[in-house]
């Protein structure tokens, strides 16, 4: 059973509208790498540089914050990753 990555609304323009993408991987980083292999335009939307997510990107693993060191967190088949963008408006 793969890992399901839930794509934030603002990023679905890069995933052909897909809300959930199934990937393989043993860490969050591997899963995101495999997501980006399927949808290369996501890389710039998620990463400021190699191994550094943009400051407004939050990763939740099985509905819990994966911060800090989220990219190195281990995942197993059936896990759920949510990519969320931080909000600042009021």
């Amino acid at each position: 059973m793969p890992v399901n990555i839930h794509i934030h609304t603002t990023h679905r323009q890069y995933t052909d509208g897909q809300e959930v993408v199934s990937v393989e991987g043993k860490t969050v980083r591997e899963c995101l790498n495999n997501l980006i292999k399927q949808y290369p335009k996501l890389e710039k939307a998620l990463f400021a540089k190699k191994d550094k997510l943009h400051n407004n990107i939050e990763i939740y693993l099985n509905h819990a914050s994966a911060y800090p060191d989220e990219l190195s967190k281990s995942v197993k088949d059936g896990d759920e990753i949510h990519i969320v963008t931080m909000l600042a408006g009021g």
Partner: protein
């Protein structure tokens, strides 16, 4: 003690067993400060005023502009050009003249945060930028004042309640600065999130459990879904990591 007029005015909420006359008296004795009188600040202030909070302080340095009116429901066409806090105070006093409304037309900064936010039972986040939110978060954590966070963008919003020393704070997930932007928003989004924040404030003041602590609530109006994520206190947080709540 509640007056006879107050017992009539708040009858429908006093009927709620979790509130009752004791809860209403707690609201009457409470002091709440709302940082911002815009999209979030409008519903927060309206519902807290209607609920009978004893004293509400509102802080905002902006004037009302035409482009505010799609979401900042405390401000009307006639208010364009007025200070937001003056516009807000007039409406709120008409909603409930029993509530004391204090206003400060000032920009919240590290220099004046202590003067503006000290002595309150709750601080409500109705800001439009992260930098000021972090100033408030630090003050709230260091001074042991519950902080009720909310933020919006487009059809999306989020809310979380912070009890200093006990729960994750806004800074626990800090990854670095995010540039301030002119953010898109439809008025119903801050309407929903601000109302959730006001609900949390009322529950906290009365002593009702099940607050949004260590729980980040996300709302997506496009899919009409709420999601909840668990957030834990970060021991290395530069705001709350090394202190504990003073009892």
């Amino acid at each position: 003690m509640l007056s006879e007029t107050e017992k009539v005015r708040y009858d429908r909420q006093i009927m709620i067993k979790e509130i009752g006359e004791i809860g209403q008296e707690r609201l009457k004795k409470s002091r709440v400060v709302i940082a911002g009188a815009g999209g979030l600040g409008s519903p927060i202030a309206i519902y807290l005023t209607a609920a009978g909070i004893g004293l509400i302080r509102i802080i905002d340095h902006d004037m009302v502009e035409l482009s505010n009116l799609n979401r900042q429901i405390l401000h009307w066409e006639d208010d364009i050009g007025k200070n937001k806090v003056d516009s807000a105070r007039i409406k709120l006093q008409k909603i409930n003249s029993e509530v004391k409304i204090e206003t400060y037309c000032e920009k919240l900064t590290e220099q004046n945060v202590s003067f503006l936010l000290s002595g309150f039972d709750a601080i409500v986040d109705a800001m439009d930028n992260l930098a000021t939110r972090y100033i408030i978060n630090r003050f709230a954590v260091e001074n042991n004042i519950p902080f009720f966070h909310g933020a919006v963008r487009g059809f999306e919003g989020r809310a979380m309640t912070i009890l200093p020393g006990k729960t994750a704070c806004l800074r626990c997930m800090y990854r670095g600065d995010i540039p301030q932007e002119k953010f898109p928003v439809i008025g119903v989004t801050p309407g929903i999130i601000g109302t959730i924040q006001a609900t949390e404030v009322i529950k906290y003041l009365i002593g009702i459990d099940n607050l949004l602590i260590n729980r980040l609530l996300l709302f997506n109006g496009l899919t009409m879904q709420f999601q909840e994520f668990r957030v834990l206190k970060n021991p290395d947080c530069d705001h709350c990591g090394s202190i504990s709540r003073k009892e």
